[in-house]
Structures are given as C-alpha cells and as structure tokens.
C-alpha cells in the first residue's frame, strides 16, 4: 500500500451526508412500493408482459359480453344458412315430383289410347 497516499485518501473519502429530505423520501418510496405490491389491480409499468392479468373487473365483463355477442351472431348465421338450404331442397323436390306426375300422365294417356275402340282389339 502507498503510505504517503493513505491518510490523504482516507480524508478525501470521508463519508458525506445526503440531502435533508433523504430519509423522508425513502420512507415515502417504501409506502408507494408497498402499496403497488399489495394492490394487484393497480397498473404496474414494470411488468408490461403480465399487465393484462391486473385488468380491472369491468374490463373482464365487457370482454365477456363481446365474446357472447360474437358467438350468438355466429349461431344465427349458421341457422339462416341451414333454412335457406332446406327451402332450396324442398323446391327441387317439388319440381322433380311435378316432372314425374307429367310423365305419368303422358304414359297413362298412351296406354288408354292403345286399348281404345279404334285400336282393333
């Protein structure tokens, strides 16, 4: 060690006091720190990734309401689509039955004509 610098260094590095408000500021910061740790609903900028967990209850309620409305819209759209598909199928069936009825009529007429008085039987 350097003897000639030992004493001047110790004197140059004597501890000094912080400002007069230091202790009070520490105690205030401790209260703030304690409050922010005890109140999970309070937004904490130091934890941006987990901030959503601390969202207020009304945010959870409004989020759930939006989800319910979206689900109801989806169900309604599917019901409308099913109804339209059912009506189209019914219409196609009716057309098919009408065509069949017309064909049967033609066939019946042809049979009765061949067994008529002028047929020579």
């Amino acid at each position: 060690m350097s003897d000639e610098l030992d004493k001047p260094l110790r004197e140059a590095l004597r501890p000094v006091d912080p400002g007069s408000t230091f202790t009070d500021t520490v105690m205030t910061r401790i209260v703030t720190d304690k409050r922010s740790r005890l109140d999970p609903a309070r937004p904490d900028d130091s934890r941006p990734a987990g901030r959503w967990i601390h969202a207020t209850p009304w945010r959870w309620v409004s989020g759930a309401a939006v989800a319910i409305v979206l689900a109801a819209l989806l169900v309604h759209t599917q019901q409308v689509r099913h109804t339209r598909e059912g009506l189209a199928a019914r219409q196609a069936l009716m057309q098919a039955l009408q065509v069949t009825a017309r064909s049967l009529e033609v066939a019946k007429r042809a049979v009765s004509d061949s067994h008529g008085p002028d047929s020579g039987v």
Partner: protein, 182 residues
C-alpha cells in the same frame, strides 16, 4: 457502516423486520451516510446518487427478513449499492465522467491534509474505471481489507490487489505530475 453499535443495530433490525416503521426509519438514518457516500463517489452526481441510495433502501425493506445480523446488513448494503452503481454506469456511461466543480463540492468535513490535494484525489478517483473505483472506495472509505472487498464485489482477491496497486500508481503518478508542473 461501522459495527460498533452492533446490539442497537440488531435490535433495530429485528424490530424493523417485525414491521415497525420507526425502527426501519432509524436503520435508514444509521446507514444512509455510508450508502450515499459510496453512491455519490461512484456516480459523481448528487441526484443520481440520492436516487440510487433510495432504491437500495427500498430493496432492503423488501428483503428485511433475509437479513440475518447487523454485520450481514452492512455487507448487504455495500454489495447492493456497489452492484447498482456499476450497473447504472454500464447503462448510462455519461455518469462516468465528472466535472471538477462537482467533485470538489462532494467534500468531507474535518480535513487535516491539504484541501486541494483532497479535491484532486476525489477528481482522480472519479476518473478511474468503475471496478477500480469501487475497490478504492471500499478500501479507503469503508476501511475493508482485500478479502472483504473481494467478497463484496464478487471479485478474486488477486484482482482486488491488482486494482488497488494500479489505482494507487495512477493516483501517485497524477499527483506527482501535477506537483512537478507547478
């Protein structure tokens, strides 16, 4: 951070750990001078030093139950202050330099040696690299031996000794150069 009043410290510590605000406030008052002095000489900025020292005490309050004794408290405060100061200097290197005016205002009371020499020493210490500065502060401000300094800074004892040797050589050289130039 002396351990002279160990019994009083232990009493304050146990009361503070039990949640007594007044006891914690007394602990702050007891140790704030040392914590702040380390911080201000590491950072060479009064506002930054006060902010850092306050953060140290807030962290202490959170970890009070982990502090086993008054000597552990003193060790913990030195370690956390130095680690935080070195981290801050790494993040914000602008605090690594100090003006002569700022260094000169961070003066000590009861000077016996030449005040100009003391001012010059403080300025030169502020210009040392942060790890070397931390070693010199713990040696001459906190009166720790190289083993204790190594334990506080998590640094091998030989590294502590070489930092001390090189820093003293730089200080001596700079002081001599200045004296010779006069």
């Amino acid at each position: 951070m002396s351990a002279k009043d160990g019994g009083h410290d232990e009493d304050l510590l146990s009361r503070a750990a039990a949640g007594e605000t007044v006891a914690f406030r007394d602990l702050v008052i007891l140790h704030q001078r040392s914590v702040y002095s380390l911080a201000v000489r590491m950072l060479s900025d009064r506002h930054q030093a006060e902010d850092l020292s306050q953060e140290v005490f807030v962290q202490l309050h959170r970890n009070l139950t982990a502090i086993e004794s008054s000597s552990h408290l003193t060790y913990w405060l030195r370690k956390v202050t130095m680690n935080r100061a070195i981290d801050r200097l790494r993040r914000e290197p602008r605090y690594e330099t100090t003006s002569l005016d700022d260094a000169s205002t961070i003066a000590a009371e009861g000077q016996e040696t030449d005040p100009l020499l003391q001012r010059r020493l403080r300025t030169l210490i502020a210009e040392l690299p942060p790890p070397a500065r931390a070693v010199v502060l713990l040696r001459y401000q906190e009166d720790l031996d190289p083993v204790e300094i190594g334990r506080t800074l998590k640094m091998p004892v030989n590294t502590v000794k070489s930092h001390l040797k090189r820093s003293l050589a730089v200080l001596r050289d700079q002081i001599w150069t200045r004296e010779y130039e006069r």
